[in-house]
């Protein structure tokens, strides 16, 4: 009896092992929490599609919150439990690539015929040492959103194309009541929104950071960057084209100010428009969009995501195949429409859905001037400490001159760039 009990016990212990041996291959796919049920449904459908095509595979789809993504993915990589396929933000990709955790996707992308079809802005974040460590999944860029009605009242014929025209337009639409109190501000300034103003440095021919002799170097204290920082800071400091409180405004505050009719111009992406329409439905018909003004050239920051395959994956070809599915026409277009971003494949950005919409058309045009932030492993630290934002606020609060602040930022960035 005792023997029988023991036998049964051992059998029960062994059963799960047997189950594992017969189970399907499992493919771990981690996607950032979209916060959008339609997107979740779309991805569930992609999972079903993939499993129908590969009956031996069980796709394990997980949504990872953006806020805990760094932590969760880093822990997984350190513990040898990295997912097969993962979505990574543009600032996260270089970090894991530098760590040596990502698979070079070049040969797959070439086989799919997408090598020349990937969004250049997002691509900048995925390329390191001429290897491709991620495939741009979706992308979005900020342009200049303005009040058509205010422009018309001020007699502005066409939206600004250069810095000078931009400044003139902001001054022209700013209005003061008889007591000298500003009732309409020209521009929604963001003291806490580095992604909106860092492109001014690119527009002036400067660099935020660049690689020199294998090391990352800050470009903040170059003459071009200093001129750009001064131009932007002066919008608030000298010309007072935005409320004083905008020293600490983030994208959300600026959006609010534009929606409430406090400010007449805003640097914003297509994803920011629905919240504005929600806050103030009347404004929808009064909004115009134009390309960000340029100085020496045109430029904007492109945000978005890459799809990556981790080197730890035991089924790299299968993982790549899942990426291929998500990069196909159907899923690329559906996802882009839901997220209000653009497809990672350039050829699809010209889709009629974007071309026929007068506002989306401008954002699509703006993408052609898109760039990524420095693809340096230390950029994450620079963002968390918000070195550019602190630099700008040091100028705005009068603690430092533009030159001093730029030198401070350059030193801090050089320290953090190469950990």
């Amino acid at each position: 009896m005792k023997k029988f009990a023991l036998f049964t016990f051992v059998l029960v212990l062994l059963l799960p092992l047997l189950g594992t041996a017969m189970a399907k291959t499992s493919l771990e796919v981690w996607i950032m929490q979209p916060g959008n049920q339609d997107v979740e449904k779309l991805l569930a459908q992609a999972k079903a599609d993939f499993q129908a095509k590969n009956p031996e595979v069980e796709v394990n789809l997980q949504f990872v919150p953006w806020l805990s993504a760094w932590q969760k993915i880093t822990t997984a990589v350190a513990g040898g439990e990295a997912p097969d396929v993962c979505e990574l933000g543009t600032t996260m990709t270089p970090f894991y690539a530098d760590m040596g955790a990502l698979l070079d996707m070049t040969k797959y992308v070439q086989a799919w015929g997408y090598a020349k079809d990937l969004d250049p802005g997002v691509l900048e974040s995925a390329v390191m040492d001429e290897k491709l460590f991620g495939v741009p999944w979706y992308a979005g860029a900020r342009a200049l959103v303005y009040r058509k009605d205010w422009f018309a009242e001020a007699g502005i014929k066409s939206p600004p194309k250069t810095w000078d025209e931009f400044l003139a337009a902001a001054k022209a639409i700013q209005q003061v009541d008889k007591n000298g109190k500003v009732i309409r501000y020209g521009f929604a300034f963001q003291g806490n929104g580095r992604l909106t103003w860092l492109p001014f440095i690119w527009q002036n021919g400067g660099e935020i950071g660049y690689k020199k002799d294998g090391k990352w170097v800050s470009g903040m204290n170059s003459p071009e960057a200093i001129e750009a920082i001064r131009f932007y800071a002066d919008l608030l400091l000298k010309h007072k084209l935005s409320p004083e409180a905008s020293v600490t405004w983030s994208a959300l505050n600026a959006r609010q100010a534009f929606a409430l009719g406090t400010c007449g111009m805003l640097i914003e992406g297509p994803w920011g428009l629905p919240p504005i329409y929600n806050a103030n439905p009347e404004i929808a018909s009064k909004i115009g969009v134009c390309l960000l003004p340029g100085k020496k050239k045109m430029a904007t920051f492109v945000g978005g995501s890459n799809l990556v395959v981790f080197k730890q994956s035991r089924q790299k070809d299968l993982a790549a195949e899942f990426v291929h599915l998500l990069m196909g026409d159907k899923y690329q277009l559906e996802l882009a429409k839901m997220l209000k971003f653009f497809p990672g494949r350039v050829s699809l950005q010209d889709d009629t859905a974007f071309k026929s919409d007068p506002i989306l058309k401008v954002f699509a045009e703006q993408m052609k001037y898109g760039r990524s932030l420095p693809a340096a492993p230390g950029w994450g630290s620079i963002e968390k400490l918000d070195v550019p934002g602190v630099m700008l606020q040091k100028i705005l609060t009068g603690q430092m001159s533009v030159e001093q602040a730029a030198a401070w930022a350059a030193e801090k960035m050089n320290d953090l760039f190469n950990p």
């Binding site: 409320p243 409180a245 600490t248 409430l260 918000d386 609060t397 950990p419």
Partner: protein
């Protein structure tokens, strides 16, 4: 053998009872403290997960002490914590005494005072951030309705005002505990003593300063130490409301240590900052205790 058993029975039992508590303290306090101490002499970057911490001796401390920003943050923390402790103690003692006086609506006041204390700090930080918001915050709205021009006023654009705004929240959340403790202390003072003092001709103010306060001295001292410790390492509300901004001007030691650890990923240097905080608080506590002891000698 018998002797050992007797000894165990006699002395072992109390230690056996202490063991769980000691284990808890050891795991939750002592180990992290010693580990932080050890880490503070090493270079350990979170971005380089594969590399073990490298021993660098006093380098982390040298770097912190030679950084002007550290002294700026230390001064910030000292001023902010000092102000908060004063305000917390004054409000706490005042409200505690008020609650000890029987009057109608005392229970309601008691509950109202306790409420901010039960709200989690992060939640309070978020709610107050909305209240202070320059565009749609209710505070600016009310102040403007009252006839002051606070429309679009920014509570977080300059360090002194931002510290004031955050301080209100920190004090509001910490004084109820003081008030409650003082109330308990007051109720432990027997009415006969007060009657005797009144019989000897002491007025209310004299009774308060010459009888009540000296009798609460031990309690006041402990409460002051506690709120000094709490306010010196304040983190949550500032992190939520200003994130140390604008331009790092509302950095306090807690934020500084956190940013060094999880922003710069320099765990070793962050550990050193934490150790400096620990040392400062240890010294302050010792000074308080010394004052208390010398006071006893005088009486």
């Amino acid at each position: 053998m018998v002797a050992l058993r007797v000894a165990l029975k006699r002395y072992g039992f109390p230690y056996a009872l202490l063991l769980p508590a000691l284990l808890g303290v050891g795991i939750l306090t002592l180990y992290p403290l010693l580990n932080t101490f050890w880490l503070s002499f090493h270079r350990y970057n979170l971005l380089r997960l594969g590399q073990a911490p490298v021993f660098t001796g006093l380098e982390n401390y040298r770097r912190i002490f030679s950084d002007e920003f550290f002294w700026f943050v230390l001064r910030n923390t000292g001023l902010f914590a000092g102000g908060c402790v004063l305000a917390t103690m004054a409000l706490g003692v005042g409200v505690g005494c008020l609650l000890n006086v029987p009057f109608r609506g005392r229970t309601i006041l008691g509950v109202a005072v306790l409420l901010p204390w039960v709200i989690p700090k992060v939640a309070a930080g978020i709610v107050w951030k909305w209240i202070y918001d320059d565009q749609y915050g209710i505070l600016n709205f009310i102040l403007t309705k009252l006839g002051f021009d606070f429309q679009g006023f920014s509570w977080f654009s300059s360090a002194p005002i931002a510290f004031l705004a955050v301080g209100v929240v920190v004090v509001g959340q910490s004084f109820p505990f003081i008030a409650l403790s003082i109330l308990a202390g007051l109720q432990a003072i027997s009415p006969e003593i007060m009657e005797a003092a009144a019989g000897d001709g002491a007025g209310p103010w004299q009774r308060f300063t010459l009888v009540t306060l000296p009798m609460l001295k031990g309690l006041l001292l402990i409460l002051t130490i506690l709120s000094t410790v709490w306010d010196f390492k304040v983190f949550d509300q500032i992190f939520i409301m200003t994130e140390g901004g604008p331009a790092q001007s509302t950095y306090v030691m807690g934020i500084y240590a956190w940013m060094t650890a999880f922003g710069e990923m320099q765990m070793g240097r962050a550990a050193a900052i934490a150790m400096v905080m620990f040392a400062i608080l240890a010294v302050i506590t010792l000074i308080y205790l010394r004052i208390a002891r010398s006071g006893e000698g005088l009486e």
